[in-house]
Symmetry: C2
Subunit: 326 residues, 2 copies
């Protein structure tokens, strides 16, 4: 099954990543890798923590959104001259990231958002110049709203199931792998799978030149474990009723992202809601970072699966810091 507009699995290769990294070099913030003695002692491992919550718009999503906009301008799938614009449906980080990427490249951004989305997130999208189209909070209403925009001639840029989005998300891992040697594990949260797939591509790129490369391990809320169940069953599950505070991880694992994850991930660790909450507090107290529940899942995994991480050198990402202010 392929979809000409969105791309096929065959075209998603590690070779997309260096091009993405080059495009992003001028728009991405060089964020620090934090190390923290008390956390290392607590978990008995060596953590390297990449603060992607410090990216413009507050999350790693700016990588994928920017790479998609820049890459599609290059290939003339988008054009400023034609006064074209981009659109998506989003209640949060992808919409905000896409709005900024569009604005900085002279394009309009139209975002379909459920009317119960968090006010501060809607305001952040508007602050980046987006036009917001409120809809009923159902998947059907979101997709219908998006379809109407596409029919007006706008170009849809999905949150994860797109080769350029996946490649953009993977660039965080390229940066980390270029800075650190002998990492044992790369640890990422799994939602729709764009970040997980991109991270696997980055590791696979490294395998072309290095003998030893890190394992890629995912963290997923127990109460939104569609990726874990899909791996168990050997195919994407269809039933998915997420019930987690990690709002960024409620999406169903993607059509394009799942096969990459299936081929390249070592394990997906399911974490509890209590663990997510406790891990967010650890990030606040030890790292001074306010992170979203979705971002806290990786620290929760380290806490709940010591047998996986003890004694290891672990590179992990803090994916985002956009919490509700109400």
């Amino acid at each position: 099954m392929t979809d000409a507009r969105r791309g096929s699995i065959q075209e998603i290769t590690p070779a997309l990543l260096p091009a993405a990294q080059k495009r992003l070099s001028q728009v991405i913030t060089k964020v620090p890798l934090l190390q923290n003695t008390p956390l290392d002692q607590l978990f008995n491992c060596q953590l390297f923590i990449q603060c992607e919550n410090l990216q413009p718009t507050g999350s790693f999503k700016y990588r994928g959104a920017s790479n998609a906009v820049l890459g599609m301008l290059e290939s003339a799938q988008l054009s400023i001259a034609a006064n074209s614009g981009v659109c998506t449906h989003s209640s949060g980080n992808h919409g905000r990231a896409l709005a900024r990427a569009a604005r900085l490249n002279g394009l309009s951004a139209d975002i379909v958002s459920p009317h119960n989305a968090v006010t501060s997130k809607l305001e952040a999208m508007r602050a980046e110049g987006a036009s917001i189209h409120l809809c009923e909070p159902t998947q059907a209403a979101r997709e219908a709203g998006l379809q109407a925009l596409v029919e007006k001639g706008l170009t849809a840029i999905p949150p994860y199931d797109h080769p350029l989005v996946i490649a953009g998300q993977g660039t965080w891992a390229l940066e980390m792998l270029n800075q650190l040697e002998n990492l044992d594990i790369l640890l990422i949260p799994v939602g729709g799978g764009g970040l997980a797939a991109g991270t696997i591509l980055a590791r696979n790129l490294m395998q072309q030149t290095e003998a030893k490369t890190p394992l890629v391990i995912g963290a997923e809320p127990e109460q939104a474990d569609d990726c874990w169940r899909s791996l168990q069953q050997g195919q994407r599950v269809k039933k998915h009723y997420p019930d987690t505070a990690a709002d960024g991880l409620r999406a169903l694992i993607g059509r394009l992202t799942f096969p990459i994850i299936q081929a390249g991930i070592t394990d997906v660790l399911r974490v509890t809601e209590a663990g997510i909450k406790a891990a967010a507090t650890l990030a606040t107290v030890h790292l001074g970072q306010t992170i979203e529940p979705s971002a806290a899942t990786v620290l929760a995994a380290i806490d709940e699966y010591p047998e996986v991480f003890s004694g290891r050198r672990v590179g992990l990402i803090l994916t985002g810091g956009n919490i509700a202010d109400e």
Copy 2:
């Protein structure tokens, strides 16, 4: 009045800063300058926000402590061979920073702390290998405890009134000034004045080669306004009864730092406790940074004095993120 052990005001010149920057280049984290569209719109100015809360030990204090340790090793005021060590009194960030700087340079660190200090801060100092000496929570007890350590042969490194500490703190501003052009204002919190004095030295260094340089403006809690009152009176005040949540800014303005501040600061803006609290929330919501009340004073100043900041390009520091976890 001079004090041979601690240095005199005459020896504190902008020339100390490039040497400090060179020493710190391998030990300091290259932290990002954040920009945030919603915050800029809220305040009608352009903010460049340097996240010194991301430094090792969670605050800018690691700059001054590291510069002091490294500089004193260079000049043989400290020696690893002699098995010497450093000491200070601290309930927080300076002690933790000094403990790490000492440990990484093969020195012991003995810290006198009040027995009512926050447990997590004591634990963080111990995690960096410090020996903690608990004392009564009075200035007299802290100084007596420190004196006992000095008499044992340990070298005291004070939190702000020391040329190498002041120069180290100022390096944050050198980094910012090297990255940005046409800043109108550098904005810093004022406690003991080490950061303020160092920032003024950095700006003065820039004045040697540039026609236009930014103003240096301080933020101070209304309820710990010893620097503001000292500037009004033309000399250091003696009475000081701080009553602010900004625990890092309760110290009395220093003997060495005050004359530098008096000569070089444009204004000190006094902020309310309510403003500090609201500003910390802004940092959490918009920047994803958990910052200490002391660090929040600069955002509070921008909120409470729009006539000073409106339309300006403002470089500010987030000084630290170590909050209590209890």
